[in-house]
Symmetry: C2
Subunit: 480 residues, 2 copies
Amino acid sequence: MSEELGIKASKSDFGKWYLEVIDKCGILDKRYPVKGFPIYMPWGMFLIRQIANALEKELEKTGHRPVNFPVIIPESSLKKEKEHVKGFENEVFWITHAGKNELDERLFLRPTSETAFYPMYSLWIRSYSDLPLKLYQTVQVYRYETKMTKPLMRGREFFWIEAHTAQKSNEAAVKQVKEDMRIFEAVLSELGIPFLLFERPSWDRFPGAESSYAYEIIIPDGNTLQIGTTHNLGQRFSKPFDISFTDEKGKKNLVYQTCFGPGISRIAAAVISLHGDDKGLVLPPDIAPLQIVIVPILLKGREKNVMKKAVEVNKRLDKFRTLLDERNYRPGFKFNEWEMKGVPLRIEIGPKDIEKNQVTLVRRDGKNITIDEKELEKTVRSELDEMTKSLRSAARKYSESNIKEAGSFNELEKMMEKGGFVKVNFCSVDEKGEACAERIEKSLGAEVRGVLFNKKEKPAGKCIVCGKPASHVVYIAKAY
Amino acid sequence: MSEELGIKASKSDFGKWYLEVIDKCGILDKRYPVKGFPIYMPWGMFLIRQIANALEKELEKTGHRPVNFPVIIPESSLKKEKEHVKGFENEVFWITHAGKNELDERLFLRPTSETAFYPMYSLWIRSYSDLPLKLYQTVQVYRYETKMTKPLMRGREFFWIEAHTAQKSNEAAVKQVKEDMRIFEAVLSELGIPFLLFERPSWDRFPGAESSYAYEIIIPDGNTLQIGTTHNLGQRFSKPFDISFTDEKGKKNLVYQTCFGPGISRIAAAVISLHGDDKGLVLPPDIAPLQIVIVPILLKGREKNVMKKAVEVNKRLDKFRTLLDERNYRPGFKFNEWEMKGVPLRIEIGPKDIEKNQVTLVRRDGKNITIDEKELEKTVRSELDEMTKSLRSAARKYSESNIKEAGSFNELEKMMEKGGFVKVNFCSVDEKGEACAERIEKSLGAEVRGVLFNKKEKPAGKCIVCGKPASHVVYIAKAY
């Protein structure tokens, strides 16, 4: 597993840089002998876990409880909701045999788990006192992607969380949708990842949803990436799956449902893409597998004092994820390695620091300070917090500078070359607008991603495609 | 999800009791529409996570690092090691199609991941400085079991950890095997689970292993359960998978390999089976999803003071996993529920306790004390530790009382009716002994589980089956 140290590609050459970082920082190995199925390497796996934990914590705070459903779903369950089956039957992996036996019924690997959860919801839910039912699972899902795969962004196996809720009314479902949005915002804010929240146009909803909301970011190559979704399923699934409850008055009703799918692998891709620099990863302190690395500068004859101090400093920081790097390498080698791997804070301790009762802190995003040893815990805490803020603000600035506005199809065409989101006046976000969206896709290879959900934007003028009066401001982008 | 409270079966009727506990305590729901694939419910999922975390912590302490390999393995990889393929080809699930396409090569769901890891080990390992390579993954695995399934003990999908190492010498591999044993002992000791460690006879090794070691316990119905294994693979896999390294002298060698598979689902089964009682679960403090539940006794007019104190107590115990049960139910209902679910410690706070500056602690294994409030943290810590010890000692006593010794086949037959382990003199643990083992299996439905690994036991006399001079003391049991 020896690896050449240092990233050669510049981040301005994003495609190349990204693949090199994924490889050299030990995130994924894509040489596994089945296409689209990468191996998560240790540093990548630590990162995935941290992101999962952050999401799980927020879900549990809001009363969601963990479950684990089987990875396989019988074909008959898939067929119950007619749009859902159409959306997924061509992109699932089919199990047809076990040992030497052909199975009576084909099974498929979950691409998402509505059809696994909801037959059970029908058994578990009886009365209003069982509602809301809020369950989630952290799992991998499987999709037979035919488009080109890209590490963490598009693969045939990826990590996500899926939360499925059942509610007693439409209002409760709408409230749940908003809770999902707050959970996503809380976690992504700590990661310094700004996102846009769209309501999808009718032709681009999740198969079986009444409305779909998507969390999207802009990648440095100008493409956009959906890093999570929330769907209001209404009663579309409760009807075919017969999920009903007896209300306070003794009346039987169908439940209203929502589902929420933050993409763990894609959030990792966002963190890598948005914060990384020419040296490699830059990890937000909240989810960095290691938050602090302590590097002793060992000069001959004075190793003992330095090591003693380094051990002491490490112990004082036991509330953080730290590593005292005692390996027998030169300090410069260690600096480069941990910089490449994105560790937020490095603490250097040398003989001079000991004489002066000081330590040197080097923040991965550039700041370099020497502090009085007494201030250690306090300063470490505040520097990590400041780093999160600084990453967040840089990412937000980048994001904002890549949202533009076009007044005509020609302008849109020109702007789309540079990527990012371009907002335009548009005729309609239900079926009537689909033809205009198709024209954009055919001419520009770009899609109507939707309407901003948490900010009403009034259209002024005409649809830039068909010229009819505009009903909405929509965002156009080339999405992964 | 309303559930009738309280376990009706007595633990002496173990089979019935076990299924009722699994169901009513919210561990698994086995009504998922594919046989042998249960749903892990929230309380079960919390338990699985705690056990996984405890094992992961020990693995990481000893330098193992996490990875995640794809769930699917190509058929060609399975075929590389000839014994391994024989052992598994009839018990895997086969993926033959994706969407509407038939795949060029069939894929199977991992039943274990040697054939996924080792083609990559061949790429990753170049020199002695890459060794030892110690990676693990916490995943679910899939086996097409044809025997009757039993929740957590035998299923077609179960949780485990698999650690795979590559070493530069046979000595290093043997050392690794011993490290695995120490890891297992460290975790299981905290769970109060005594186990026997066997070296398996040659005819019962893991397919492709040079030697196999198994961790086994006795279940209250007298059957035994393997809850983990360690295998020394020697160079059996490094040869076909071409995993070699250049040593210090520049010579090319094949690596030596080991793998370690603690069964998370089965350890959960062990905890439930060994510690539970007529009231339900009794969870060891180390892995209890909740360690302490605080129940305020709210009498009319005095609720405010009691709640204030309960909140304060909850805050003081923030180093533990606690829940302040504020639900609008009677205290008795809460007591019963949390007892059934096995929470180790209950703290009761009522108006009388406040007057006297005291709190009442009720340990799930029976002890009931009232303590001065000042002693809270200290006493909670010591009571939880004492409870672990007490569970461990009771389980050890139970285990020891179910290990017997038979001097003849007739005696063995009689003893086997009561279950547990029966040790006997035996002719041979390599091929020469297999016929005698088969006779035992055919007559008694019991198996030769192996020879104790960490305690040399000298045979005296003759093999109880064939009458030839005995070479080993072996343990016989009916295993799940």
